[in-house]
Amino acid sequence: MSIPALEIRGLVKRYGSVLAVDGLSFSVPEGATFGFIGPNGAGKTTTFSVIGGFLQPDAGEVLVRGVSLSFGAPRVGHLVLLPQDADLPKRARVRDELRFLGELGGLSAAEARVRTDQAIASLGLDKLASRRIEALSHGERRKVGIAQTLLQDRELLLLDEPTAGLDPKAAAELRSLLQEISAKRTVIISSHNLAELEALCTHAAMIQKGKLVVSDVMSALKQEGQLATVELTRPVSGAIEFARDLPAMIIGVERATFAADGLGLELVFRATDDAEADRILSEVLAKLLASGAMVRSVNRGKSLEARFMEEVRSSSSAPAGGSAL
């Protein structure tokens, strides 16, 4: 069994009488792009802050590639983090500050210069490099914060709300950059933008009230091996019978339901892997076409947002157990 890139064991953090993180445990596999999801006040930033060594946990352990990290010890060499609500010095100039942080992270002056220029170019900050931090907009400051995470390239990368405050263009550019980065590094992203996480992440964990609700690979979270919706532009003739007979006609299909207008088909099926899911859906499509339907689109699974809302609702009414990876 391979060592996880990050492992959280039984993390507990209280603020006075408020229990912010309550026995949280999960692990992030090496090479994953991991989404960390939860409503406001769920404990995401607190968890990130404990991982970053900024907050002292009341209990629990943080391990990066099997190495336990103690509170307050520098994380350099293990991970680098974009903290939320942390400002860089107003009077500092962008390039100087990044070089300083690079050197502080263990780079030589020459390396820091090169890496700073690379990070500035990656984030399109060239025109702002000589400006003072105080002269930048919120989004531009966020980009500088992200740039400091690119100075060291082997560490685990944790980003707390990386696209918060960015305009749509800048957010899209950042997502594309994150896609590039995640091909080479393990990345953990905390965000409220579930569509963004759905597009970027291979794995995700959902937390609520400081407890793990669920943690799994993205396809399993979205139930891609269990659910599919087919959008039609022309309905099948005999829709009720078609839906009733489908489970008997195709192995793996458990239930089929048409929308009232007959232009949407919801499928519940059981597939052990992606190939089997593809086989089932191909056979369903063939049957639909043979029955006179015209297909506009096929979507496997449910959106991350739908799953998130479902989990939040169910965990609000029952004690959370959670399934770890």
């Binding site: 520098p74 010095p89 009077r91």
Partner: protein, 297 residues
């Protein structure tokens, strides 16, 4: 995997602190206020000396014929009348003022401490610590309050950060003290008011002693800078603590211990006093580090 050694981390933080203070207005503020106070005090004392000299020359001149004013003044200082006045009246006043003043007069009387060095030392000891508080009170608390330390503490140990900040501020203090001293020496030499050649050999010990005391004061203020994240609160509480401790020291034996006793500045680096100042630095820095390492940021 890259790591930063503790020493390199502290050095990088110190360098950044030094640069931020030099490139900002703080050094100028410190140099102008400290240098200005020093220059004004010297000008005042010199004018008093000049007036006294003129009076003495006038009074002695009637009976001494062709003697020049300097010789007349030296003769007066060596006279039994003046020495008796020092040993009785001045010493009585010094004893009444406290042990530090007595030590100061004795040091001057013995020739260990020329008056310009003693005056510079007094001005430095009284004005520089509060001025240092004014220029440094927000340097750590702002980093804590804005969350900037979250960028730093990922990369450098908290103790290295603290040492770097302290070292940067201390170097600024020492540099300003030396700069002001050299400027005043040059002016004194230029206007032919100071015997710079006689004064110079006494100054390194004074500078060294004062440097230690300034480090102790900075480490004292750092306790408050690490405890509070609002700069204004740091200024208020540290300023009040400085005033309170100073006032308390004036009326109690505590004043003979606080900041290594006055001896360290006037007895030219007396061993026990130096150790006592180092103990202050260690204790204050230890408290600051304890606060910083235990706090959530």
């Amino acid at each position: 995997m890259t790591r930063t050694s503790w020493l390199r981390g502290a050095w990088l933080v110190a360098r950044a602190e030094l640069l931020a203070m030099v490139l900002g207005f703080r050094v100028i503020f410190l140099a102008v206020l400290y240098g200005g106070t020093m220059a004004a005090t010297f000008a005042l004392v010199l004018s008093i000396f000049r007036a006294a000299k003129e009076q003495i020359t006038k009074e002695l001149g009637a009976t001494s014929g062709l003697m020049d004013p300097k010789t007349l003044l030296d003769a007066f200082i060596q006279s039994d009348k003046f020495q008796t006045w020092i040993d009785t009246e001045v010493m009585t006043m010094a004893r009444a003022a406290g042990g530090e003043a007595e030590t100061l007069v004795l040091a001057m009387r013995a020739g260990d401490l020329p008056w310009p060095a003693a005056l510079g030392l007094l001005v430095t000891a009284t004005t520089l610590p509060p001025l240092l508080l004014l220029i440094s009170y927000d340097r750590i608390s702002t980093d804590l309050g804005t969350g900037y330390v979250r960028y730093l503490f990922q990369r450098v140990h908290r103790s290295a950060y603290l040492a770097g900040k302290l070292a940067g501020q201390w170097l600024i203090a020492v540099l300003v003290m030396l700069l002001a001293s050299f400027v005043l020496l040059a002016i004194g030499f230029g206007v032919n008011e100071l015997d710079v050649a006689a004064l110079l050999p006494h100054l390194p010990a004074v500078w060294l002693g004062m440097s230690l005391v300034l480090l102790a004061y900075l480490s004292f203020f750092t306790i408050f800078a690490t405890a509070f994240t609002r700069p204004f609160v740091v200024l208020l509480v540290a300023g009040f603590a400085h005033f309170l401790v100073g006032t308390f020291g004036l009326f109690s034996r505590f004043g003979e211990v606080w900041m290594g006793r006055f001896d360290v500045r006037i007895s030219l680096l007396q061993g026990s006093a130096v150790l006592l100042v180092f103990a202050h630095v260690l204790v204050f820095t230890g408290i600051s580090f304890y606060i910083l390492r235990s706090r959530d940021v």
